[in-house]
Amino acid sequence: MGLLTSAASRAEVPVFPVVGAGGREAAEALWLLPGVRMVDTPRAAAVLVVIGRLTRALLQPVLLVHDQMPGPRATLWWPVDGRPADDGTDGDEGLLAALPDVVTTTAGDAAGLRAVFADLLAGRRPWGPPALADIESPRWRGVGPYGHGGEGMMGGVPYGRPFAEMAQDPDGLMLDQLPLQIGPLFPALPPGLVLHLGLQGDVIRGVTLGDNPYRSWPGDPPVGPLDSVPFLDARTSPTTVAALEVARARHHLRWLARTLRLHGLDARGRRIAALAGGLSATDRPAVEALARRLGRDRGLAGATAGVGVADQATLEPLGIELAGGPVARAAGVAIDARTDDPAYAGLDFEPVVHHGGDARARLRQRVAEAAQALALAERAGDAVRSPGPPVEGPRGPLAPGRTMPSSSLIHLLPTLLDGQEWGDAVTTVASLDLDLEEAAVDQSATAWPQTPTGTSTASTRTP
């Protein structure tokens, strides 16, 4: 092994993560592993880590990501619900068939990841060809029913690529508009989000939502476990208020950490992600100090103020205004399921409310709710909440028979994103804290947690 290779094998491992079904919890750990660096593009990655179960709809995008890695490359699979790799369900089987050298390791195993990387660079682990065939794109055969379509020099799909069309821009000029599909694995969007949109320069025009890749069909395993497991469980079984509130604070802090990373603040995000990982009620002063610091942060305020305004009028038609949740409370709606919950009766609970309904208000709302949640956890002591009333989850109220919060929130996107610059669109999407897997619960033929399987590891974790 030459000097160069030897030095290279000691570098931080550039990893591109793919979050499959049930993989959100374990994905949080990846960011904090020592000697591992999450990269923005598969072109910079040496190791692809597939976390959780691959659904059928995710298989093809994952193989594309694999083929985009320049090599030497390896693929790691972190199953999260303890099922064997070859139980013949879903996209997992397809992954193993298409990439025979996938290594299955325990989720969060840094040593295993580094070992695969070192073997790869030393040449002890061969790396394979692309998983997808390199197909020559369709020939251009002129305008018309057998050609690329379109009109004159514009539109259509010459050589298999959608071509720009003319459309009016916000200033009333006729400019090129490129039709695009973004997602489901675009790293700056929530895992699984697919957007069909037109781009005029970096301005977004006309957004429609694509299919949710986490959606399961009859015969598929159910989606989940979701990242809001403690709250879902609280609908049916007694839970301590303290545990719920610490889980809420952790959820919001993790969201904050991911959001800071998108704003170019990876290191600050990591610090908060580490705090969130070991969070307990005694961290209240640290979280309150964090909330004060973020409140004074002019840079972050400038990056989020006035971006993605979802006021009460925007929320009302989607039913979010009446349902509550942090997005509604950031727009001044003082609705919180905890107000009427007897378990919170003696805890002096008042919903936190912010005004403006923009990305900045949502950021402040979640940080304030995290600090409030830890204060409640301290005051609650051993108080136990009995099932019955709706549970206020981290994204909104959860009750049997009610749509999941992400299912409603996701429908804000077409309205909010139209006309935004790309950077603002990423800020807006992040500020809504969407979980596509949660949204899939309402769209799926089989949905966790109504079915008993798949609840194994995450539901037994105590915060």
Partner: protein, 325 residues
């Protein structure tokens, strides 16, 4: 890059090494850029660990940049469908070349300058203006959406960087009554421009950070664009682009040290050491800000640049001019 005819500085010892000869010139500028890029990476690692509250081993700090460079050199270069291969290769070379031109205009110690020409800061400004071409070409070449959007972003912002940059440099030239960087350094004996023109250095650093597409102004290569102009770059191509961007940052820091922090002036230590120290301080400031301040919105920055930064830079010019009169 520079011929003897370009030299226009008085008081250079003719017996000393002629830094404008090709070999010494290339070695000197190359050494400054590479050492500066390495220092940038070390400072960046240190700042990232400090801000993240993570433990850092000395070996990781010192060897980390080399290991990462070795890994990128080891990885394959992938390509996209129908890229513009020539311009893709040319873009980092152009960026690095412009950084080299900028460094060449700066005297690193008394008499140690490759091309301390009479119009040094004009040449620096011209080189920094061409950075835009390099970044845009890099975004254009891969024939891919997000790199191209990264390129657009830089073009949309470039004028907002270049205007304040040019103005504060003009202000710095006024007390020296010369556009030569050497003369500007000489004029700071006793009083550095950072004190004489307090607006100059902050405005210069903001513009310089933008030109290097770094930290809060790292819009052309941002996380929100999956890496922007470098979203499709891998292996060696990724390495040279990362290096070229650092070279621009180093050129900004070296020039800032000379124009605003008194260059080689300072007690006890040799002039070259003072330059190195001042450059490192500016690099540390640039890198530190990158880890503390969120990426600014494109539209907001243009408004801030034209409504605040450029007027401030004009005030800087007028006040400096009035003081000279």
């Amino acid at each position: 890059m520079a011929t003897d005819a370009d030299r226009d500085v008085d008081g250079i010892d003719e017996d000393a090494v002629s830094w404008s000869d090709p070999l010494p010139a290339v070695l000197l500028v190359g050494a400054v850029l590479v050492a500066g890029a390495y220092a940038t990476s070390v400072l960046d690692t240190a700042a990232a660990h400090l801000v993240a509250g993570r433990r850092l081993r000395l070996g990781e700090l010192v060897l980390g940049p080399w290991r990462e460079a070795a890994l990128l050199a080891h990885m394959r270069r992938s390509t996209t469908e129908r890229p513009d291969v020539q311009t893709w290769a040319l873009a980092p070379a152009l960026l690095a070349g412009m950084a080299a031109v900028a460094v060449a205009t700066v005297p690193l110690a008394p008499g140690v300058a490759v091309a301390d020409v009479a119009d040094g800061i004009v040449l620096f400004g011209a080189a920094m203006a061409l950075v835009m071409v390099g970044v845009y070409l890099h975004g254009w070449s891969s024939n891919s959406v997000f790199p191209l959007v990264g390129g657009y972003r830089f073009v949309a912002l470039a004028l907002s960087y270049e205007m304040p940059l040019a103005l504060v440099l003009i202000a710095a030239a006024l007390p020296a009554e010369s556009l030569s960087v050497g003369a500007i350094v000489e004029s700071q004996q006793g009083l550095w421009n950072v004190v004489r023109q307090p607006l100059g250095l902050p405005l210069f650093l903001v513009a310089g950070m933008g030109l290097a597409s770094w930290g809060p102004l790292g819009m052309s290569d941002g996380t929100d664009l999956a890496g922007g102009t470098s979203a499709e770059s891998s292996g060696g191509a990724r390495l040279v682009w990362a290096l070229a961007r650092r070279f621009v940052l180093v050129a900004v820091a070296v020039t800032g040290a000379a124009v605003f922090l008194g260059g080689w002036h300072g007690p006890v230590l040799a002039g070259g050491l003072w330059m190195a120290l001042k450059t490192l301080v500016l690099l540390a400031v640039l890198v530190g800000v990158g880890h503390r301040v969120a990426r600014i919105r494109l539209e907001r920055f243009v408004v801030v640049a034209w409504a605040v930064l450029i007027p401030l830079a004009l005030i800087d010019v007028f006040v400096s001019g009035a003081l000279v009169l």
